[in-house]
């Protein structure tokens, strides 16, 4: 029962935090952390991939709906949802001692940081490039990707100490 209520609550909280807090506050002009990806990151590892994709799409389109960019976050989130499984496979060596629920406590700091960083960079890469929709000023886009990714990862890391501790 608690498992079932956990994900809808997390979904709602992350959407609200993203839309009401992080979409309003910008740091230094071009840092936009997108913390809502945490929802996709924290889905159980054993969840079938098609469900992960559908939930990614749902999350992305909800954020789009609030921020007037229909399709943009959905495209990036679905892309990230697809690459979630290969990334997990890539960075997990011993499958036996792997927890089913990604998290700082459950899977260890090294694994969690690696997992979060790789997928956040992938997500931001797609997101910012589709937003700008051209390869002019590519270095500027790249700077935005790197800077925002760093901030997102920091916030996701901190979030592990605050909420979703389980």
């Amino acid at each position: 029962m608690r498992k079932w209520i956990k994900y809808p609550v997390m979904f709602t909280v992350l959407v609200l935090v993203q839309v009401l807090l992080f979409n309003q506050v910008h740091f230094g002009g071009f840092l936009n952390p997108y913390v809502y990806v945490l929802f996709i990151l924290l889905l159980p590892i054993s969840m079938p991939q098609y469900q992960v994709l559908l939930f990614s799409f749902l999350m992305g389109i909800t954020i789009d709906w609030f921020s007037n960019t229909l399709g943009l976050h959905a495209a990036a989130s679905v892309f990230m949802g697809l690459l979630r499984f290969p990334v997990i496979k890539l960075i997990s060596q011993k499958e036996s001692d792997q927890s089913n629920y990604p998290g700082l406590k459950q899977t260890g700091i090294r694994w969690f940081l690696l997992y979060v960083s790789i997928l956040v960079v992938i997500h931001h890469f797609i997101l910012f490039n589709v937003e700008v929709f051209s390869f002019e000023n590519f270095h500027r886009t790249l700077l935005r990707i790197v800077a925002s990714s760093v901030f997102t990862v920091i916030f996701l890391f901190l979030s592990q100490f605050v909420v979703f501790r389980e």
């Binding site: 098609y50 799409f57 389109i61 959905a74 679905v78 589709v130």
Partner: protein
Amino acid sequence: MRNLFRFILGNHVFFLFIILEILSFVFIFNFNNYQKVKFLNSSSRLTGKVYDSYSNLTQYFNLPSVNRELAQENARLRGMLEIHSTLKRIPDSLFIRFPAKEQVYSYIPARIISNSVDRQQNYLTLDKGSRDGIKPDMGIISANGVTGIITNVSPSFSTGLSLLNTRWNISAKLAKNNYFGSLTWDGKNYRHALLNEIPYHVELTVGDTIVTSGYSTIFPEGVLLGIIESFEKRGGDNFYTISVKLSVDFKSVSYVEIIENKEKQEILSIQKLNSDDEKVD
């Protein structure tokens, strides 16, 4: 057929991914004007290129007939010149009373209810909509100058591009000598924008006023945009690179007026005739 089903079932994750991505991009192209325009532009650039090189090739074969036409036109014009120069000039006068011009621009007050300054594309949301007579492509000005342009309208709200949007530019001119160029925001600082297309022979000084040119049907002539903060000549360019300090502080703007140009339809329809003519030729 069964093999096909088995193939799809075996790769259902990948197919789902493709379907969701296509769906996302359909949304992106249908609901985000910028990507739509950019996509159509790049595709029409390709077709345009094909047509262009084709006509480059074929026009050589038409040169004799083009020459003949030009010679005939020259002869005709020379004949007309002859007639005109031999005509006696008769002084005359004509009494025409111009009808008093009606008010061309009308203004609708509104309030900004959502605004941003630090994205690449900043948008405004206003508290007036189609019920108050607002339509897309109307200009938005505040007491300090140009603020944006309306793009979408609902019954009681409207959204618009802020001037701080890298997607559009505005026809601007120097108030002192009427040289015009286009003002664009470079996406870096919300207090500054760039004025392009001012040639080198124009004399500039820091502090010159930049106003709207009135060449578009959106803004009347002479609405304040900003003042020149610095300018430089870049090697290889034909135009100055001018940094303009915007007169509107987008972080504090809240009350605006929406401009309706009552002659807009008429101007656009006659301009459309021109472009139609070009297509026929």
